[in-house]
Amino acid sequence: MSPADQPAHDPLADEWLVVRCQLGERPAFDELIARWQQPLWRYARQLSGSDAAADDTTQDVWLRALRGIARLRDGTKLRPWLFGIAHHVLMDRLREQFRLPLVSEGDMDLEALPASGDDPLELESELAALRDGLARLPTLECEVLTLFYLQELSLDEVAQVLAVPVGTVKSRLHRARRLLRHQLGIQGGRG
């Protein structure tokens, strides 16, 4: 995924969409879906591991979002609200499918992440490797990295999506980066 695939994060534009949806304007719902369908699908795809599961998850997310948007008080929080719904849908599905406790593995003593090069091909190759590495991570770590790096949510927004304190997000990010470095077997540095 490239940054160009992400809708520009404009909380006021989100609020404008939400207010129009709450007023019942049909075109606003179309715009809402056009704006957020792909980011939500990619997030679901990253965590669920298949296109079909991502399709089902996104459908559930939109159902819940359409039914709940009238109760969204602050439209500027649309992005964490939508990803929060997606998080709940994914966790419900994972619990149902695998009946496994969603706990993270312990810390590992590892080095830093790689620096991204300027070559687009090299960058794409690194991104593909990152996606593969992410897919092998435990669910919690995969999720926090997906939200923070791939979906570019802020720490506060990730905390709202996961319903945990910001400190917990930071520690999960720290652990996830170390696990990912271990998966990739590489060294380097990235903030």
Partner: protein, 158 residues
């Protein structure tokens, strides 16, 4: 999930016909429960089978009203102007039913009419409260939309 599927989902979720149907079901079921329940509670010499039938009908009406309220709250949530229209319908319906019950109570002196009038009066009070809240909510949303559009200084921020 493709655009067609999302569009079908939108059509299904935003159906005005379904919302109107459930508002009407809520009002009709509430009115039926009020009338039949009042008769059941106040008629002095009802045959046992009629009393049982009235009790069952009252329960059925209450169940349908509860179902319609649940659908409107969690499945077909009313948006903006739809809330205002639904509350106006409820207020008008309750007022007509209240005056009807009062007229029957005054002209025929039926105790059931007074009990029904009490229930319809409570429904009218609730509907009026909901109408005021819905109108405030709608006005607030319209104001906010206008503020945002003014800030974007064009009809669309894109």
């Amino acid at each position: 999930m493709n655009t067609t599927a999302v569009s079908a989902l939108l059509d299904q979720e935003l159906s005005t016909r379904s919302r109107t149907g459930h508002v009407l079901l809520l009002l009709a079921a509430s009115a039926m429960s009020a009338v039949v329940g009042s008769l059941w509670a106040t008629e002095p010499a009802l045959p046992p089978r009629t009393a049982v039938a009235f009790a069952v009908l009252t329960c059925v009406g209450v169940c349908w009203a509860a179902y319609a309220a649940w659908v409107l709250r969690s499945r077909r949530v009313l948006l903006g102007l739809q809330r205002v229209v639904a509350a106006r319908m409820a207020a008008l319906f309750s007022a007509v039913a209240l005056f009807g019950a009062l007229a029957v109570g005054l002209l025929a002196g039926k105790p059931a009419a007074w009990l029904a009038a009490l229930v319809f009066g409570a429904m009218l009070a609730l509907a009026t409260t909901l109408l005021v809240r819905a109108q405030r909510h709608y006005a607030r949303l319209c104001r906010r939309r206008a503020e945002l559009e003014q800030r974007f200084s064009s009809p669309s921020p894109k």
